[in-house]
Amino acid sequence: MSIDNESLIQMYRTMLTIRRFDERASQDFKKGLVPGLVHSYNGQEAIATGVCANLRKDDRIVSNHRGHGHLIAKGADIKRMMAEIYGKKTGYCKGKGGSMHIADFSIGILGANGIVAAGLPIATGAALAAHLEGKGRIVVVFFGDGACQEGEFQESLNLASIWKLPLIFACENNQYGVNTPYTYAIAGGDIPKRAAAYDMPTKSVDGNDLFAVYETTKEVAEKVRTGGGPYFVEYKTYRWSSHFEADTIPDLRPKEEIASWKKQCPILRLQKKLLETGILTEPMINDIEKQVMANIEQAADYAAASPLPEPEDAMADVFSA
């Protein structure tokens, strides 16, 4: 294993933070504390974590509607995230964006996006910027199997490929877009094959295995960073919750399928490995759990205590100065 113990523990902590954060956001949504919608990342934590662990602070990511995990993994402040989700003035976007539009440009988070696949073209431009700058930055764009059905998917793959841009297309194939299985909606059912047709090297890995995610991304990121052009990685996974935390759309996926995937919990899998190898011990796990929960609690308290925006704040930020 090429990963040092400290990094592994850190990734474990990140995954747990993502899980607990979204659990809390979902609970608070159900309590009516959070307006709008919450798309939970539960079950996919290894991907954001293993990918972002290979990024520099000045690398950039572009996220999608299911973005909390990506942001936390890239280093976003969960207090300001929670405040944004609560619609508070202290949130990342001063309450203007909410769950689907969190960004932190200071650490390379170019923003979540509410339109399926719309982040891919933007990431392509960010990768062009990285290329022009020539400082070895790379860009990662996270998107789902559903995004692979939109026209912007092909346009972005094609452009990134012909310009050999430093961009990782990180496809989180959680097998459904809302209730539509990718096996129905993606002709042939082979997403990496599409990328290959755009002349791009591809990999496909178990997105619930932190080690696989980390190692694969490490290799890919090195190639992309050193001028190898874009890379497409499919991370196979599953979302535990329904499409979003509201029952306006029923979850039509087979109950047994959901149950079987929950057995593939990326956090427990990592935990087990770390216990086996002695990198973590039960007491350490309890400690981490406590620290993470305390942080989440703190974030929620911060959000709850923060002021709502003034109504008139709505008029600011339509344009920059």
Binding site: K96, G98, I115, E150, I186, P311
Partner: protein, 316 residues
């Protein structure tokens, strides 16, 4: 008469028209279970998340003797299919010299009010009104949505139905028997003599509530719901303004180049109506910002009863 919901009325309109015409096909990214159950998965089709080919397919079906419904869900998702609506559906009848008809119904939900933020909240009908070749319906009541959708489903042109997300649960009466509502005929939802209030979509309900409240103060407000934006019932609006001498247009959409701007222009550019105006016509519109997420700000940008009342008071 039966009392049903707005959503149910829309579903019934589709069901009834699907029964009337076997060559009607529904396309949407999510399964329409009631239609699939009754008409089968061949006619009620689930598409990938590919709105452009979804709308384009509706056009191709329509040009091949079918009648197609393209359900885009939220109006903000429509922008990825904009070319198929603006350059294709709208222009195809004209460009080909009227050789073929293109019976297409495009459905989109509109509106803000549930903290979905800018990429899931919009009332873009004015953008489509600027594109000749698209009929546009804007049903605000249970009765209207059923009757207008049925008319749209018998029309031989592309018709866009903009349905407000917050109206889904609204309840109201519909006749037992088959009925349709002609496009281009406004509904006078309340008669009055002091002020004409033209209200669009969900704002019709706010307008009626305000009219009710102001009646208690002795102010008599006429509330007109155009119901369809293309064609637009100019005559009914002008006639009312000639009577009242005052106009307020209430529209949730962003103000600049809105349907409200069009309605004001139609009224003021008509000599007869202009000469009857006792005070400047007013708009009560959504503010010119993307829709913000947090409730205090979101409410601030949408018209509400207070803003409507203030506008009316200014006129008197």
């Amino acid at each position: 008469m039966r009392t049903i919901s707005y959503a149910q009325a829309a579903a019934e309109a589709l069901q009834e028209e699907f029964r009337r015409n076997a060559k009607t096909v529904y396309l949407a990214t999510d399964a329409q279970q009631n239609l699939i159950n009754e008409f089968g998965a061949e006619r009620a089709r689930v598409t990938p998340i590919s709105e452009s080919v979804l709308v384009g397919s509706a056009i191709g079906l329509a040009g091949s003797g079918y009648r197609a419904v393209a359900d885009l869900r939220m109006a903000t998702f429509g922008f990825v299919a904009m070319d198929q609506m603006v350059n294709q559906a709208a222009k195809i009848t004209y460009m080909f010299g009227g050789q073929s008809t293109f019976p297409i119904l495009i459905r989109m939900t509109i509106g803000a009010g549930t903290s979905l933020a800018a990429q899931h909240s919009i009332c873009p009908y004015a953008m489509y009104m600027n594109v000749p070749g698209l009929k546009i319906i804007l049903p605000a009541t249970v009765y209207d949505i059923k009757g207008l959708l049925k008319t749209a489903l018998r029309d031989n042109n592309p018709v866009i139905s903009f349905e407000h997300s917050l109206l889904g649960g609204l309840s109201g009466e519909v006749p037992e028997e088959d009925y349709t509502i002609p496009l281009g005929v406004a509904a006078i939802k309340r008669e009055g003599k002091d002020v004409t209030m033209v209200a669009l979509s969900r704002m019709v309900h706010e307008a009626l509530a305000v009219a009710e409240e102001l009646a208690k103060e002795g102010i008599s407000v006429e509330v007109i719901d155009p119901r369809t934006l293309v064609p637009l019932d100019k005559q009914a609006i002008r006639k009312s303004v000639v009577k009242t001498g005052r106009l307020v247009v209430v529209d949730e959409a962003c103000q600049t180049c809105s349907a409200a701007a069009e309605i004001i222009s139609l009224v003021t550019e008509d000599d007869k109506t202009f000469n009857k105006l006792k005070s400047p016509p007013k708009r009560v519109c959504g503010r010119d910002t993307p829709v913000p997420y947090s409730p205090p700000m979101e409410h601030y940008v949408i018209p509400d009863k207070k803003k409507i009342k203030d506008a009316i008071r200014q006129l008197l």
